[in-house]
């Protein structure tokens, strides 16, 4: 035996080295459920390589900054003028959007609608990659000493990038959304169809678990559901590029909103805030509809009796209520003929029980009960329907 090993020394060493590696691999695969494990060799390798990467990236940044901020200033005046004009335009738009947002907040408060919003982010620079086409991950120049933790969401202004997979003192490894092992809860914005975004073996970003009979089209936007507890709701994931049918589910290819192959700077979401309805807005045990009823202008009993049916009155005399917005649905007093349940309800808060994947509330921070049904059933008769636009500002819900 000893003679055999000596004679085939090279092959014996090869067999031994391969055996050790295969055995080690098997142990790792078996223990892959332990998320806290980080092999020492990984720590060493990352600690050796990333400082050089950081040094080069920061030097590059400094040289670029000096060149572009102090030396190469051609066309800056014109750009400044264009940007000022753009700012004016955006200010106008902001006024409109802030009105919409405050209205949405009031509605969320009334509906007991909880959602996560981004409270704090930390900018970080991409300094390196895994160096493998099969492992789609990146290294950042910030780590646990900068306040980053595992499973924090990483985004850019364009959309979702990935999540922090491994954390080291001065660097963090980010798993991109187009990696095969990633998974992200997402919905098709137009149809409110829920699915899972993950990478294909070839590195394409796919939306999975959408039933084959759904009418998904190329160009549809896909956003996060917020149900995975990592990404806040509503962040852009990408747009649908190709849809093909395969058995039970659709095969949907996405074009990621963030350019995953050219990432330089990213934002790590370090703090999420759970936005709950303010106590002053939904007071004590009072129901939302009662508050609304108290605030809406009343109609004399006589007039109501004379008309007999408020809904008829509403349909004849009152201007038609735009029921396509949640605001109008709430403003339409329940029990007055304008039935909230028959109105086109916004899908996020009104899942279709026949199709489970349309149920956005599954796994999301929202309440699973339909918040619109309760007011509709428990509403006291209220005299008049008024479109929100006609009411004085102080009469609207605060």
């Amino acid at each position: 035996m000893e003679n055999l090993l000596t004679r085939h020394r090279n092959l014996s060493v090869l067999a031994a080295v391969l055996f050790v590696q295969v055995f080690g691999l098997a142990v790792q695969v078996k223990r892959s459920n332990d998320p806290q494990q980080t092999r020492l060799i990984r720590v060493w390798a990352v600690a050796t390589i990333t400082p050089f990467e950081q040094a080069i990236v920061h030097t590059q940044g400094a040289v670029y900054g000096v060149w572009h901020n102090y030396l190469y200033l051609r066309g800056v005046r014109q750009e400044n003028r264009d940007l000022k004009a753009q700012v004016e335009q955006l200010k106008l738009e902001q006024v409109r959007l802030s009105q919409d947002a405050s209205q949405a907040r009031r509605l969320q408060a009334l509906l007991g609608f909880k959602e996560q919003s981004i409270l704090q982010t930390m900018p970080a620079q991409v300094v390196g990659s895994s160096g493998s086409e099969q492992s789609r991950s990146l290294f950042l120049d910030k780590g646990s000493e900068d306040g980053l933790k595992k499973n924090m969401a990483v985004i850019t202004s364009e959309g979702v990038v990935g999540k922090i997979l491994q954390i080291y003192p001065h660097t963090a490894q980010v798993l991109l959304i187009n990696d095969q092992t990633s998974g992200l809860g997402a919905i098709v914005e137009r149809l409110r169809l829920q699915g899972i975004v993950r990478g294909s073996p070839n590195g394409e970003t796919m939306l999975e678990k959408v039933m084959a009979d759904e009418e998904v089209q190329p160009g549809d936007k896909v956003i996060t559901t917020g149900g995975d507890g990592i990404f806040p709701k509503g962040l852009p994931v990408g747009s649908i590029v190709k849809v093909s049918s395969s058995d039970l589910f659709l095969k949907i290819r996405l074009h990621p909103a963030a350019d995953l192959s050219r990432l330089e700077e990213v934002l790590v979401i370090t703090k999420l805030q759970e936005v709950a309805p303010a106590s002053g807005e939904v007071a004590g045990s009072q129901r939302a509809v009662d508050i609304l009823a108290a605030r809406l202008p009343g109609v004399p009993e006589k007039a109501a009796a004379k008309d007999g049916d408020v809904s008829n009155a509403a349909s004849r005399d009152e201007p038609k209520i735009e029921t396509s917005t949640p605001a109008a649905i709430l403003e339409a007093k329940p029990g007055t003929g304008a039935k909230a349940t028959t109105a086109p309800v916004p899908r996020p808060i009104h899942p279709d029980p026949a199709k489970p994947q349309r149920n956005e509330t599954t796994g999301s921070p929202h309440s699973s009960a339909d918040p619109l049904e309760k007011p509709a059933q428990s509403a006291k008769p209220a005299p008049v329907l008024k479109p929100i636009a006609e009411q004085p500002a102080h009469d609207r819900m605060q």
Binding site: Q21, I41, R42, I49, G131, Q134, L165, L263
Partner: protein, 172 residues
């Protein structure tokens, strides 16, 4: 063009100064991890593999070759989020194969270097995919077109890279 050696005595064995032997693989791994972030199209190159092949065929010692491949592969593994050993196994076999082949073939000319690299690139990818699929249980997409093209690109790069690295070797 002479591709084969007639006897082991004809084979010239080279060695590298310890600094070069340590720095060449380190720089290759650094290049692989850093450069594709700046220039994504360069991710098609597998520079650590090219260095493994070069060190193997130049030193012509199978044990050194397989150990070099093992270390380079494990460091590469440690930068990914996959289990350690996938690249390690593939590069161990390539390191062993390259150094064993170096004894039998003349790998000093460009044509043989091109062919050797092309063959070992495909072997490496086959081993990597097999281990990843068979042992780790992760399905990877094997695209023949991409792999053959990547093999060609790496083989061309190897001819240029080996010419540069030749400057560091010393006759034993």
């Amino acid at each position: 063009m002479r591709l084969s050696q007639t006897s082991p005595e004809q084979v010239e064995v080279y060695r590298f100064p310890w600094l070069a032997a340590a720095l060449i693989p380190a720089l290759a791994i650094f290049f692989q991890a850093f450069v594709p972030v700046q220039l994504p199209f360069l991710s098609i190159f597998d520079v650590p593999l090219l260095v493994t092949i070069f060190l193997g065929v130049t030193r012509r010692n199978p044990v050194t070759g397989l150990l070099t491949g093992c270390v380079i592969g494990l460091i590469q593994d440690s930068l990914t989020h996959h289990p350690l050993g996938v690249y390690g196994i593939a590069k161990t076999v390539v390191g062993f194969g390259a150094s064993s082949l170096g004894v039998k073939l003349d790998v000093e000319n460009a044509a043989s270097r091109f062919l050797v690299t092309y063959g070992f690139y495909l072997l490496h990818q086959f081993l990597y995919f097999s281990v990843q699929r068979g042992l780790v249980g992760q399905a990877l997409g094997w695209a023949w077109g991409h792999e053959l093209l990547a093999g060609l690109v790496n083989a061309v790069a190897a001819v240029a890279l080996f010419a540069v690295l030749d400057r560091f070797k010393q006759r034993n």
